[in-house]
Symmetry: C2
Subunit: 250 residues, 2 copies
DNA sequence: ATTGCCAGTGTCATTTCGACACATTATTAT
DNA sequence: ATAATAATGTGTCGAAATGACACTGGCAAT
């Protein structure tokens, strides 16, 4: 990566920002990629502003690429957050100030409507890199109790609700899991998103009946106990099935 | 209603607008409330701008109230439209000019991100009133082929897709139908939103099994043929059932 | 070799689904 | 009046999906 370009508020639209909830799945947990601010010591969603000639979707791709290094990600806007007080007392401005970047207060002082996007990434492919204002860049478990900037906690909650509702319409498993995965891993992902347990055998039967998985000959080794088979998504059939919506609700 | 207040762009946020797709159900058809511009002779969605101290949701309530006269409507944002060229060559400016309202071009000339809302209203309760720039205010059938302003046709399409996806999570029937309705009316509503036919008997069995309808003693008279019973939603049970999501997909 | 744990596979009763047939009733044509 | 028409109310049946559960098989630690 090259050095960070200095922030020039003239490049960006006033009043419009966007925040990305970047989901990853690791160690059988759903996690969100967060920045940890150097000075205010709070977590924040990777977000940014809209350039004058960009769509929101293009801006989201750009911002997530800056953050994860990944191109062509699965990204979806899910809600605009518009509480008039939401961007009051933004501690990130303090951090920008401390970092030596004279924050353009006529820009940062404005009211911002933020459009929330969620991104689904393969955890192992991401190379998170802290930026000028953040000392760390962490995958934070959803169950972790951390302090967050502004309304970012609420934004994450809404993102998860959206995930849950769209589980049968969006290629969520495909985007969150590595190419090869085991049935227990897929089940845990579903259980995490849905927030409840599923019967192991019924889950397997149902998901296999959709005909969207290819069972590989290979098995996962190394773990204790019986080694599970690997599966991978049959992308063509998966996409086709999603158009109709996977019937039933888990 | 009182006289229209003159438009003062200082009251509003720059760059943010919203457009409302107001759905109504009448004569067994799903319809959208549209304004017909006096001079450019095009249909447009009732839309508006965000005041400095309003949330988007509050603005949507205000705008729909100005348009339909109804309070406390069911309203839901579904997407932000952000194509940089979407508000280029806005013919509504021409109409504002012709109407004698000197349009504030430093305001209207800006790029606008529009947040789409859909509203569900009881057709019979709405009193649509054309405004300064519109000569008519029509309920337009979704199948009608009319010319529309900017990307409003696309916005309507997205609204319907959203409706379809949310049919099992949102109180769509409750909000679109009058208090009393017949089974065939409810079925037609579902068929319209889903875009396909349903078996009359299976539909009845399934919807009754949800236990969200109260069968009334009264029947609908006047129509030809056997008179159907009236039903109404049992609001409490309906809301409860929606929280879980009505199982299955129609 | 034994034990513990997890994965793979199968069974069964119940419920739901999809595709129908038939009876009932209000209007309209004769 | 009477019959024809057409839409509604209700029921049936086999197929498929669902939920609950039991048994077998393999890997590793002891």
């Amino acid at each position: 990566m090259t050095a960070t370009k200095p922030f020039n508020s003239a490049e960006f639209m006033n009043h419009i920002s966007l925040d990305c909830v970047i989901f990853g799945f690791n160690n059988n947990e759903l996690k969100v990629l967060l920045l940890h601010l150097k000075y205010s010591k709070e977590y924040t969603l990777p977000g940014g502003f809209l350039k004058h000639d960009e769509t929101l979707e293009q801006a989201a791709q750009r911002i997530v690429k800056e953050r994860t290094g990944l191109n062509n990600l699965f990204l979806k806007q899910f809600k605009a957050f518009s509480d008039p007080d939401r961007s009051k007392s933004n501690k990130a401005i303090f951090d920008a100030d401390m970092a030596g970047t004279k924050p353009d207060m006529t820009f940062f002082g404005k009211r911002f409507i933020s459009v929330g996007f969620y991104a689904l990434v393969d955890f192992r492919k991401v190379k998170p890199t802290p930026d000028l204002f953040s000392d760390r860049c962490d995958w934070v478990s959803l169950t972790a109790d951390v302090t967050m900037l502004l309304d970012h906690k609420q934004i994450i909650q809404e993102a998860i609700s959206t995930l849950r509702l769209q589980l049968n319409q969006q290629p969520i498993g495909l985007k969150l899991l590595p190419h090869k995965f085991t049935m227990p891993e897929l089940q845990t992902l579903y259980e995490t998103i849905l927030g409840r347990d599923l019967d192991r055998r019924n889950f397997q039967r149902k998901i296999l009946n959709y005909n969207i998985l290819d069972k590989l000959r290979e098995r996962k080794t190394g773990g204790a106990h019986k080694s599970p088979y690997f599966y991978s998504f049959n992308v063509e059939r998966y996409k086709k099935a999603l158009e109709e919506g996977l019937s039933g609700i888990w």
